[in-house]
Every structure is written in C-alpha cells, then in structure tokens.
Amino acid sequence: MNGESIRVLVVDDELGMREGCRKVLAPEGYSVETAADGVAGLELFKDRGDFAIVLVDLNMPLMGGMELIDHLRKLDEDVVIFVITAYAAIDTAVEATRKGAYGYIPKPFTPDELLLPIRQGLERRALTIEARRLREERESRLLEVALERSKSSTIIGCMTDGVLVINRDRQMVLRNAAMTRMMPRCAGLPLSAPMNTLKCPELESLIEETLCTDSGPVIASRELALDKSTYMVNASPVLEPNGLVTGAVVVLRDITALKKLDIAKSMFISMVAHELKSPLAAVVSQLSLILDGTVAGDAQKERHILDRCLLRIDALRTMVSDLLSLTAMETGRFTIKRSALNISEVVSAVLDSYKEKAQDKHITLEMARAPDADKVRVLADRESMMMVFANLVDNAIKYTPDGGQVYLSVECNGVFLKVSVRDTGIGMTAEEKERVFDEFYRVKNEYAVHVPGTGLGLSLVKKLVEMHQGHVSVQSVPGKGSTFCVNLPLTG
C-alpha cells in the first residue's frame, strides 16, 4: 500500500484523540487532517474530497457523528468510515453501520487496534472500487452491443430490399418492413412461424435448395412474381465456422420496372423483325414471279414488279439507317455538332433536293422565307436539321395526292424560330394524330397503304428536335391536309 497517497480525516472534539490518531497514522505514511466537530469535518471533506478514511466520534458539538455519516455517504459512496467512541454500545454500532459506517473502533484503542481495521477498510474499498469499475466496463460493453444491434436492425429495417431469415427448422427468425410490404401475408405471422405459412412454394423450394447440405451450400436465385410485381430473390446459406448450414438469408429485390423495360425492348425487337420481314417477303414473292416465268412476256408487268421491289428495298434501307440513328440516340452515341445555323438556308437546301420528286407528282413545292428569319441563328447540328426537314418534306409529298401543294415557311416566333410544313394531303384523324410520332406507327387508309414507309421518320424527327431543346407539333384535318410545326430556340 502506498501510504503517502492515502488521506485520513479524524473528526473528534477531543484534542487528545485527534493528535493520538495523527501520531499513530502519520508514521505509517497516512496523511492525516483533523476537525473538532461535525460541521468543520464536513467542510474539510467538501473542500478536499479525496479522503479514503474518515474516523468519526459520535458525540460532538454542532453536528454529531451520526449526522456527519449521513452527509459523507451522500458525498462519497467509497469513503471508509469508522466510528470511534467511548460510549461503546452494540445499538449505536448497529445504527452507525446501517448508516454506512464500515466499522467500529472502541476507545481507548492501541495503535494496532486502529491500524488493522483501517487496513481492512482500505482493502475493502479497493475491492469495491474495482468491482464497480468492472461492472461499469461490462455495462458499457453491453451498451455497445445493444447499440450495435440496434444499428444493424435499423439498417435492415431501412433497406428497400426485403430481407427474410429462416433457421434450420424452417422457421422465420427475422424479416424487415420491406419484406412485409412485398408479402403482406407476413404481417399477420408471428416470428418463429414455419416458413410454409407464407404459402409461397417457389420461395420455399428456393430456401430448401439453400439449406440442403447434400451438395454443399448453394446460393440460389430466382425471379418471383407476386401480385403485380416481379422480384429477384437471392437465398444464401448462413454458415457456422464448421461449415454447418444453420439457416438461410433471403433477399427480395423489386425488379418490376426493369422487367417492364425488358418486355418493351423485346416487343420493340419483335416489331423491328416484323417490319423487316414483311417488305423482304414482298420482294422475294415479287421477284419469284419474274424468275418462275409467271409474268414472262409481259414487259410492263415485269417493269412494275422491279420498280416496286426497288421501292421496298429503298424503304428498308431507310428504315435500317433510321433504326441505327434512333438506337444511337438512345444509347447516347449520337453526336451532334452544334454551330450557329441559318435555318432558312437549311430548309431552302432541303426544298431544292425535293423539287424533282414534287414535280413527278405535279405537287407545288414552295417556301415563304421571312426576312427576319434570315438574320437569326439557331445553335444546331446541320446534319440533324437536314434530317428533320427532309423527313417532314418527304412525308408531306408522299401523303399528298397528285396535283396538291406543299408549303414551307420559316419565321421568328418570340425566342423561337418556327418552321412550318403544310400540305394539302390526306390528313389524319385525331386518333392517328395522337400516335403519329410513335415508333413504327403508320397511318393506314386507302391512300396510305400505297405509300412505302417505315413508321420511324417522325419519331426520329421528334427525338432530333427535342435534342435541340425544340418542340414539334402537328395540326391536321382528314382529307384536307396536315401542318407540322418545328420550334427551335434562337441563340442569344
């Protein structure tokens, strides 16, 4: 024991007793302070609260020993208090210990009769402090574990994937909120309910696959359709260090949106395949008429067949390149090189390239070019703009019967440049108008069936215009004609 660090307080109204204690204790290395009454003793204790031992007389002026013990206990639960009194009586001793005194030293006492209990008291104090330290340490660890647990359960609870844990006995031992949302049946079931109460055989067989130890632990995956949603279910085994499977963790991820995209993509591919197959079948059928001699000797029929074949093949070629452009746009690989363009000039160039085609059908093809439209510029890709207006002019000519008119106009429209392509063609019904920008949509009526096309041109136009932060709209009256308007934002 390192006596130097141990402080002892002696509270007694007898000077002889105070000094006697000091004489016994100081040589043993204790640092001794004294007080003549309870009040002074308490003051001293409060000022210097690091006393390990307090010796208290019971009968003192101002504040008696019993009262002092009460105060000291409240201030310090570890301090070892001894009662020293000449009025030795068993009942006072019992009351003093009940109040928290450690022991009782009757006066008068020999030096050893004082030192021995003090040493015992100090040992006891050390043990108590150590025990408390251990207890506190354990409690803080428990708190850590509890925090860790609540952290894990919070994380699992917040996961958007459904989590379900099954033990070796096929009972549910954990499930999170997402799981209950995905399988509402879960909600009413207690934990430890057998997994077959979920009434989902696909899920059960997947878990069995994981729990089955014959072929070693397996991670099983499967798509699962529940209600209107599709889930990707992954079940993995919970392994003990010795390799024994003690359960399975099942994670459900909602892949409904991905599934819908996948179906849309498949439908698109099937649609493309059909759009490619029909004209190819037509070309093969037509050519076989020439090859097998069905139309032998009829030069006019042969010529007609070959013309039609060429038209169909040309439409196929356009379709393939439109498809490539569309997919390039969707995958973000379509590059546009923007420069300040005079759109009037672009439209005029497109118009020139369609003059011959219009003449063949005796269609009047004209352009009204507002002077202010020639002064402004649009930040756009020239090739894309050529594609947009070529598609619109081509459509206008194709769907306008012989002798009709196609008018183009370019004008400023606020912060936009507006290009209109108006025709006196077959027009569209409200329903047709609604779908005209859809991929592969084609108007089908008496006139339109004779027009070769892919149903991709206008969806390409819309995408290109929107890539330039523009907008395309259509107005149409069946039998009277259609007007397509493209608005493109002006620079500056």
Binding site: S266, H274, A282, S285, Q286, T294, K444, V449
Partner: protein
Amino acid sequence: MTGNKARILAVDDDVDFLDWVRIVLEAAGHEVVCFSDAENALASITDAPPDLIITDLMMESLDAGFSFARRTKEAGNLCHVPIIIVTAAESRRGFDFRPRTGEDLAAMHVDAFFCKPVDVKALRMKVQELLNRERRATNTGNAT
C-alpha cells in the same frame, strides 16, 4: 363458279402482296378481287360471296385476320367459303400463331395457313384443293 374459274377475295394491307396474289391467281385462270382492309372486304362479300378468301393476319390490329375469318364463318351464307391466312407475322411477342394440326386450323376458323414469302405452286395447289373440296360438297349437298 363456272368451270375451273373461281372468284377469289384477297385482303392485305400490303399492296405489293395483293398485286402478287392477283398475278399468281389470275395466271391460274381465276378472278381476284382485292381489299386493303378487313372491314371493307367484309362489307363487300355479304352480298356477293366469293369462292375463296385469302387474308393477311396482322392488318389494322394484331389479329385482324383471325377476327375477319371468324366473322366470315359465322355469317350464314359465308360459312362454307374456304379461308387461307397468309402472313409474315406468324409469331409475335413470343407467341407462335402457326397451326400444328387440323384442330388448330378449325379453332382459327381457317382452312390453310401460309407464311410469307409463299411458294407460288404451293398456294395454287392449296387454292385448287380447297375449291375442289367445296365443289364436291356442293354437289353432294345438291344430290341429297
């Protein structure tokens, strides 16, 4: 139907296919009437039933050919008219339309099913076979 000459109705939204049918069957001595949509075709045949119908499957809708066939067979005076489906869309969205058995054909209310492109000889033979079958049935019907 006089002699071997039959009146055949062709329905398809592909004008080139209609052209092809006309050339192929006119060369075989038949008369071909063409329509590019099922509604107009149906309206025309109610008054003047053809001897045989050749129709596309997918026109304004996915199964326009099937509903056209069903409506034709359900009309009292047209139930005996043989129907041939000719299509490039024999499968769609993972669903195979091609009939495997005679029962499949009956369920479709059609008598034959061809995929485009069609072999000229095969189509002519099938047309002749169906016309002969119909002629025999009519004769038997008259005899009883």
